[in-house]
Amino acid sequence: MVLLLDLLTTASMLFVVTAGLMMIFGVMKIVNFAHGALLTMGGYAAFVVTQLQLSPWLSWPLAFATGVVVGAAVEYFIVRPLYKRPLDAILATWGLGIVIGQLIVMAFGREVKFADTPLQGTWAILGVDYSAYRLLLIPVAFGLCALLSGLLNGTRFGVKTRAVIMNEELASGLGIHSGRIRFITFSLGAGLGTLAGTLITPLSSVDPGMGLPWLVSAFMLVMVSGHSMLSLMLTCLVFGTCQVLVSTYASPVLGGMTLALLAALTLRIRPEGFARG
């Protein structure tokens, strides 16, 4: 039972962390390597809220807002000139990650911080006591998935976005402001990134390098899942399961590598990923 909950919560965490990257990679084919730094920023947003002795719930909107603002600036100054050079965009966003990381170190120092958890204690579920916060992540992830799917599939913005994904020139020709769509998507993706950083802080510590381990996992998941939120959810479930099983039954170190290795092999055998699974 605990194992099942572990599986579900791990998959939820993976999804939450990956969703922001998905928005950016799925729509713009830009690999945002600053995602790790965005996660870290989210962590520090939670820390700031704790320091100010506000309600921990406030850290969620604060993180999201910070992310959107930073994302908007990054899109405008760094990503926009590099649309035609996707490999360089990887590097520029990676460099940006370094810059953000160093700024955080200068502002908060290197040492590990702790942030308050919005929800403490455990809930008894089907006869086991399980961390309430971890359980909370499950509905959060599914809610996010539904919300984003709805946004992409059910709204006018979503239709325009998909038009830009499919054929940018044609979309521009039809009067869709593709630059603005990209701008909004990037800001939104960045906001989701910082929000995810806040969401995972109660389960890890806050330190300048906290985003990095997630970056590669998130990146691999996005590569494998193609560009629909549902397939991303599915991918998170499958790979999260493998990761938890290996960590539980083999060793945690191997578990840490499972996701990356499996994803690499999956892509080698099925280059198009799960998208049309």
């Binding site: 690999v31 760094i78 000139p81 590099l82 050079r85 996707p86 490999l87 360089d88 990887i90 590097l91 520029a92 990676w94 460099g95 940006l96 370094i98 810059v99 990381g101 160093q102 700024l103 170190v105 200068m106 590669v216 990146f219 691999m220 590569m223 060793s251 170190v253 191997l254 840490g256 590598m257 990356a260 290795l261 690499a264 092999l265 892509l267 080698r268 280059p271």
Partner: protein, 603 residues
């Protein structure tokens, strides 16, 4: 390019002739060599210590530059090979002891393990249709996996604190400095000679246009895997040197943070040049050693900011910018001399048809694009393939030039069954394909493009640059007819549309194909150019006995040169015959005009 090659005196492999065009770079090279020789007398031991490590890093940076700057494969993974070399030294000296046997074992392991892992990574990263993103992602996974393995090695690998205090070479700092300096010079010189050689241009052509490379018969995945293995060996040796010198190895040496630092050095220095990354790696390492203690956070911040700025604003890096005022760093192009080479005799009997397609179909899901195609063409024939848009003409061409493309049916090229083989094998069977849009190597010169096209006929030298450019007579005809022979040193990007088309045709012909596929060769050409191309094509079929297949909308043009017309409609061949037969047939009129009752000029 294993250690045996590295140890060879690079000056011996660089012929005096190859040195000529780069005489301007000589002073810079001499300053570098001089600094390595006299270093111990001008630097104190602190600086020497930093420089020795920087030299080993610089060697690795060069391998990143070769892979990324020259070949276009962005890799975060070279640190893994460097770390493997370092750990080979650390592990062997710790557990086996330091002896001459131990040294040989460690160095051997550093090279062999790095090469074996590189082969595996290469297999994972490079296959037909792999996206460059994917290869980059794999290169990111590699250092992570290796560091995790080292972290989980417990006592044996020293886990997170690594290995330290093992016995190693008892050299003085000066000797280490010379060893590391010599390694940098040797690797840089070797890379310089090889990258400028004819074989080195293959890397640039892969960076420019991978699909054209495979349609010139170059096995791109294999070249990339080979290159990765070679650079891994070099990085492994550098790592071994680092591990043996420093007496400390830690998991960070294999990590992807170092991998990204390597990229930063190369990017700031100037990718695609050798000096840039070399100077960049050494200077940034020295600066980091000094500044990271004085202003630990600000320095990283400055470096990160500079990196972002350079990537966005100055993709070529800083060192080329600094060298430019001195007239250095500019590519020198030597004019090649055109010579005619005899066409290879056909390998098989003359009566084997050049092309046989039997019951070929192509489906996308339930959509049938081609159905039951039976087509035979012989040497000396010029077959015109016509049909309305969407009839499947280009798809048909794809099915005969890439074994993976068709859904079912068989294709024989000059008697060889192509099975599911990739385009480069079809090219080796005698196929040459000219695309609709000029598909050339934009950053290469005309002469270099043509030399690339001859790669499968004469293996390019790894060390030398050939003075002459030998082409079959019909390729020369194309060059002369379009006056491209006077523009051999022009960069392909700067040519006019018509010239680019002619260049691509000449490249295809330089393959000495038995079957030439041409997709709308006259699209976008002027009337004069059209006549020239027509003359060339007729000569190919009638004088040189090649089999030509062309897709063409311009029926006047087809009438002039084609010996046979094949009409394709909705994925099937509806008619074959002479031009007159086809043009006067009601069927064709129906297809083109939509209805047989309102006869119109098909043309």
């Amino acid at each position: 390019m294993a250690d045996a090659t590295l140890l060879r005196n690079p000056a011996a492999s660089a012929t005096p002739r190859a040195m000529n065009p780069a005489r301007r770079m000589l002073p810079l090279g001499l300053i570098g060599v001089a600094l390595v020789v006299v270093g111990p007398w001008i630097f104190d031991s602190y600086v020497l210590n930093i420089l020795i490590k920087a030299f080993f890093f610089a060697v690795t940076a060069i391998t990143v530059d070769v892979l990324w700057g020259y070949t276009g494969y962005l890799t975060f993974g070279q640190s893994a090979f460097f770390g493997m070399g370092a750990y080979a030294a650390g592990l062997v000296f710790t557990h086996y002891g330091f002896s001459s046997g131990g040294v040989a074992l460690a160095l051997g392991l550093a090279v062999v393990v790095a090469m074996a892992v590189a082969a595996l990574v290469g297999w994972l990263s490079f296959y037909r249709g792999a996206s460059p993103f994917f290869a980059t992602v794999i290169s990111l996974v590699l250092p992570i996996v290796i560091s995790q393995l080292l972290l989980s090695g417990g006592q044996w690998t020293g886990s997170s604190s690594g290995l330290t205090g093992y016995e190693t070479f008892d050299f003085s700092l000066e000797v280490w400095y010379w060893i590391a300096g010599a390694l940098v010079i040797a690797v840089a010189a070797l890379a310089w000679v090889m990258l400028r050689s004819d074989a080195g241009r293959v890397l640039a052509s892969i960076r420019d246009n991978e699909s054209r490379c495979s349609y010139l018969g170059i096995n791109v995945p294999l070249v990339k895997i080979g290159l990765l293995i070679a650079t891994a060996a070099v990085a492994g040796i550098a790592g071994f040197g680092y591990g043996a010198f420093s007496g400390v190895v830690a998991p960070e040496l294999t990590g992807f943070v170092l991998g990204t630092e390597l990229i930063i050095w190369v990017a700031l220095g100037g990718r695609g040049t050798l000096w840039g990354p070399l100077i960049g790696a050494i200077l940034i390492n020295v600066a980091t050693a000094y500044l990271s203690s004085r202003m630990p956070f600000a320095w990283q911040l400055i470096l990160g900011t500079a990196f972002v700025l350079v990537i966005v604003l100055l993709p070529k890096g800083l060192v080329p910018l600094l060298l430019k005022p001195f007239g250095l760093g500019a590519q020198t192009r030597t004019a090649a001399e055109l010579v005619e080479r005899p066409v290879r005799p056909a390998a098989q009997a003359v009566d084997t048809p050049a092309l046989v397609m039997k019951d070929v179909t192509k489906r996308y899901g339930s959509l049938k694009v081609l159905q039951g195609i039976d087509l035979t063409a012989h040497a000396g024939q010029l077959v015109g393939l016509i049909g309305p848009n969407g009839a499947g003409k280009t798809t048909l061409m794809r099915c005969m030039s890439d074994g993976a493309d068709r859904t079912s049916g068989t294709v024989h090229l000059c008697g060889n069954d192509i099975r599911r083989r990739p385009a480069e094998d079809c090219v080796r069977f005698g196929l040459g394909r000219k695309f609709q849009n000029a598909n050339i190597f934009e950053s290469l010169t005309v002469a270099e493009c043509l030399r690339m096209a001859s790669t499968i006929i004469e293996r390019p030298s790894l060390f030398r640059k050939k003075r002459t450019l030998a082409l079959p007579p019909y390729a020369l005809d194309v060059l002369r007819a379009t006056a491209l022979d006077a523009k051999l040193d022009a960069v392909a990007r700067d040519l006019s549309h018509g010239e680019q088309q002619a260049l691509e045709l000449a490249m295809v012909l330089a393959l000495e194909p038995r079957i030439v596929l041409l997709d709308e060769p006259t699209a976008g050409l002027t009337k004069t150019e059209r006549t020239q191309i027509g003359g060339v094509l007729s000569a190919l079929a009638h004088r040189y006995g090649l089999c030509c297949l062309l897709v063409e909308h311009d029926l006047d043009f087809v009438e002039e040169i084609a010996t046979r017309i094949v009409v394709l409609h909705q994925g099937t061949i509806v008619m074959q015959g002479s031009f007159q037969e086809v043009v006067n047939s009601d069927l064709v009129k129906t297809i083109y005009a939509g209805s047989a009752h309102t006869p119109q000029e098909a043309a």
